[in-house]
Amino acid sequence: MLGLIAVAAWSVLYVEHNGHAVTGMNNQIVWGLPHVFAIILIVAASGALNVASIASVFDRKAYKPLSRLSGILAIALLVGGLLVLVLDLGRPDRLLVAMTTFNFSSIFTWNILLYTGFMGIVGMYLWVQMDRSVHPKFVKPVGVLAFVWRLILTTGTGSIFGWLVARPGYDAAVMAPMFIALSFSLGLAVFLIVLIALYRLDERKIGDEIIARLTHLLGIFIAAAMYFAVLQHVTNLYAAEHSGIERFILREGGIFTTLFWWGQIALGGLLPLALIFGKHPSNASSRAIVASILVILGAFAQLYVIIIGGQAYPMEMFPGYEITSSFYDGAIASYSPSFFELSLGVGGVAVAILATGIAAKVLRILPTNLADKKT
């Protein structure tokens, strides 16, 4: 993990020295692979808090022992995602400007406040859970606050795209709820993998029952995320003006069409659903891990299609006309991510994993035995 982080740090310095000219990004694809990584981490962060919310907002006692890991993972993923986002800026040295000069009509500004607020609130949430001198009655109100905050936060993340009227691939209110649904499935998938991995690494016991319950919940979240994705495309297909972008994504978009059908729908949706709700002899943990990995791959494909595909399809400056120019107007934009973009994104994931691992080692965030009662 440290090695991956070091490579990412070197990539950042190299790009900052030589400019973004060394990356695959250009004036057509202005947000690239780093943004896919950053947003997948940020969306996963809000979703990772689900388990804590189920325990303290919806009073499901079985999940209470998992609340702390849920909070730690949420913060770690958000830190990883924000690092990627900030280090891909043209001028990351001006982070202080972004933290002190606000334009409140910008969703980015709201997001800066929502992200920092999220860390503060989840930090407080962890404190009321872990400090034995704090009365347990405070857990629920702080938990409710964190839950509401995370819903607003993901609304903000989805609206980065949903409120962009310029591009036919965006400009849709459904982006916000779609991102929330995606955060539920993606966040739980990441949580399941981390939970099972931590227990296996430490050779602690975890029961099949709690894993099976979480996996079943994952199935419901996958279905919800797919519902919004289908809604997005069916709504677009109904309006003739959006037929161009839909034809591009669903039929003629090459890599984006492949990623949509095979990545997002088949691998990330139908296959894990079949795995979770079908009858299999496989054990609960293996099934949870395979389904979770598929959900993460599907989410990656979905965000790649939204972020890169939404820019690759040209803006319709003159609806109804074909346009050409030396600035690639009217042309499908090409994008080949460089090693620097990939290593920065992977570095963000490594930071999130490392931070979670250290927290699990140093803090008392997980019970030593989560075996089923009967065993």
Partner: protein, 254 residues
Amino acid sequence: MSPKDNFVLPDLPENPSRRGFFKSGATAVTLTLAPGITVMAFGGTPASAAGADAGKRWGLLIDVNKCAKDCTACVTACKDENGWEGHGDPEQNSQWIRKVTMRNKSTGHETQMPVMCQHCEEPPCVDVCPTGASFKRVDGIVLVDKHTCIGCRYCMMACPFKARSFVHEPVNNQKPHAPRGQGTVESCTLCVHRVDEGRIPACVEACDTAGHGAMIFGDLNDPTSDISKALASYPSVALRPDLDLNPGVRYANL
């Protein structure tokens, strides 16, 4: 009124005095220390910002019929004036202005016209900019403050006209009146440095010199200006009128 409302691009005063410079804080000064290293101070009072007159709304009217096919005089003039000639990957090079060819899908009829920042009254780039680096002067000119731009490129995602470019490579020997910066976003300034001196943008001048006269620059708020008279006498359109951004750049005979 925010301090930005009176923003003008740096310009040396006619008789710069050290005392006056420090006293007023109103004068905008550019000091070139060495090639490529420029220190700038920005003015802040209405007196210094004579160019940014709240009573004016600068605009362009482009007569598409007069825009000659394959003539790129406006583009060349803008490159020379503002120094954005790229030397790298064409997909990464900046383009403040470009000639766009529009083809009617059913008839095959082709039209060409220059497209640049449309200097919207409701600019989406200004709405989305997290730091307020994207801003609109009181006279309607939309600019990027290179000192507060963090290079997030959200404005490029938001602009429906693809008017903005990101500086992907290190830049040297910039024009003092048109500072550029690696890692920041840039676009047509409507030649604000010339406008503040009472001159017309370089593209308009070049189009006139080339004998086409396809571009008229002027104050949209002044009914006696050439641009207002032309707009009143024949039909014109804004690009993407459905977005209701009320751009300062208009097209006739489109």
